[in-house]
């Protein structure tokens, strides 16, 4: 594939006393779905957090759309990052949560009108729950409130850390359709999961952190 969106090279990352990555490289192309594989503790989350600039590696070179950039903060407004923790406030309603996010990341959100936010929530099966406090929702529903951000995002890269945790089969189906649609329109998705996810069309490229062979060299 030709169109490189993000290239991370020469990554050296230590966590505590462990050397997680040394001279590691990862290249993400436009329109590609990449699944990060590896055992627990292989460094999937650390790699994702270094990619979006939440973690500061000992050494790394970032290149965004062919241009070398100093840090991940340069392109962070083009990235949708959904971490391990859903970043959903229990005291707020799903609609208030999504509105907060839309205002926080105003440059990478399509629209923040209430109708659009509600339709994003409804698309994930939260219709009728928009004005209920999130503390009364189930774990899966809370996770869906966080995932509804995918529907209003216009980022170029989605970085999703275990997005399917606690989500039921039907929800996983919707999310995988969203991911595929996003990739068809030229977006790039990097995600991790320990579940078996089935995509209809494009199959994800698997980068297995346990097997150095599956990671391309720079």
């Amino acid at each position: 594939m030709s169109n490189t969106l993000l290239k991370l090279s020469d990554l050296t990352l230590e966590r505590g006393d462990r050397l997680l990555f040394e001279q590691f490289s990862l290249r993400l192309h436009a329109g590609e779905i990449v699944q990060l594989g590896g055992a627990n503790g292989a460094g999937k989350t650390s790699l994702m957090r270094s990619l979006v600039g939440l973690l500061f590696p000992q050494q790394a070179t970032y290149s965004w759309q062919g241009h070398e950039v100093q840090s991940a903060h340069v392109y962070s407004d083009e990235v949708l990052y959904l971490g391990h923790k859903p970043a959903v406030r229990f005291q707020l309603t799903p609609l208030e949560n999504l509105r907060w996010y839309a205002n926080l990341q105003s440059t990478q959100v399509n629209s923040s009108t209430d109708e659009d936010l509600i339709s994003a929530l409804c698309a994930l099966g939260l219709s009728g729950h928009e004005d209920e406090p999130c503390s009364q929702l189930s774990a899966g529903q809370k996770r869906r409130v966080g995932l509804a951000r995918m529907a209003i995002s216009r980022a170029k890269l989605w970085v999703l850390d275990e997005p399917f945790t606690a989500v039921d089969v039907h929800g996983v189906k919707i999310l995988s359709q969203w991911i595929e649609k996003f990739a068809r329109e030229g977006g790039t998705v990097l995600f991790t999961t320990h579940q078996k996810i089935e995509f209809d069309g494009q199959q994800p490229r698997v980068v297995d952190l346990d097997k150095p062979g599956s990671v391309e060299s720079s």
């Binding site: 979006v52 939440l54 990052y81 509105r99 907060w100 440059t107």
Partner: protein, 220 residues
Amino acid sequence: MKELVTTELKLLYRRKQELVNPLLFFVLVCSLFPLAVSPQAERLELIAPGVLWVAATLASMLSLDMLFRHDYDDGSLEQLAFGDQPLYLLMLIKIGCYWLMSGLPLVLISPLLGLMLFLPYEAMPTMLISLLLGTPVLAMLGSVGAALTVSLRKGGVIVALLVLPLFMPVIIFGSSAVVAASQGLPAAGQLLWLAAFAVAGICLAPLATASAVRIAVSCD
């Protein structure tokens, strides 16, 4: 931006049980002194400025943990640090709203406690102004400590050890302003010092807090 402020205020309002605790603490500590020292007016009016200021300081330290704890636990802090809004501004909003909901009630209830401790009437305005200028400084300084310790599971006592030494100048100028006013002396000098602290705190503390938040998030 306006939406972020209203969300912050809404969140604090819905966690009001945590905001009531410091207020009750303030009232209870102040009401212990007439019981323990003496209910005589001439004894109490001597210690009133110090008691009010120390109790207000400890009370505003009590709720510091809630400033970032919830956001850290549910991952919102990560999104704040990651977002495209300047973190300095987001922290300023956060601390400002927090002071409005936790510091301002302490200031508003202090005249009642001043009455209970026989603080002379002519010192009341000075006490109000000193607390009004001083408690934002406490919130600003405290936020740095809270952000530095948020990634520790048991940060409670460490926050106190970190921020209490920083609170000392505020207590010194705050209580001495009230002492001066209760003796009929001018207190403008001390109040101006407090105002200077407030300006410096509002300008600089969010910078330090933002850096501390980035560190906390990267330690996760």
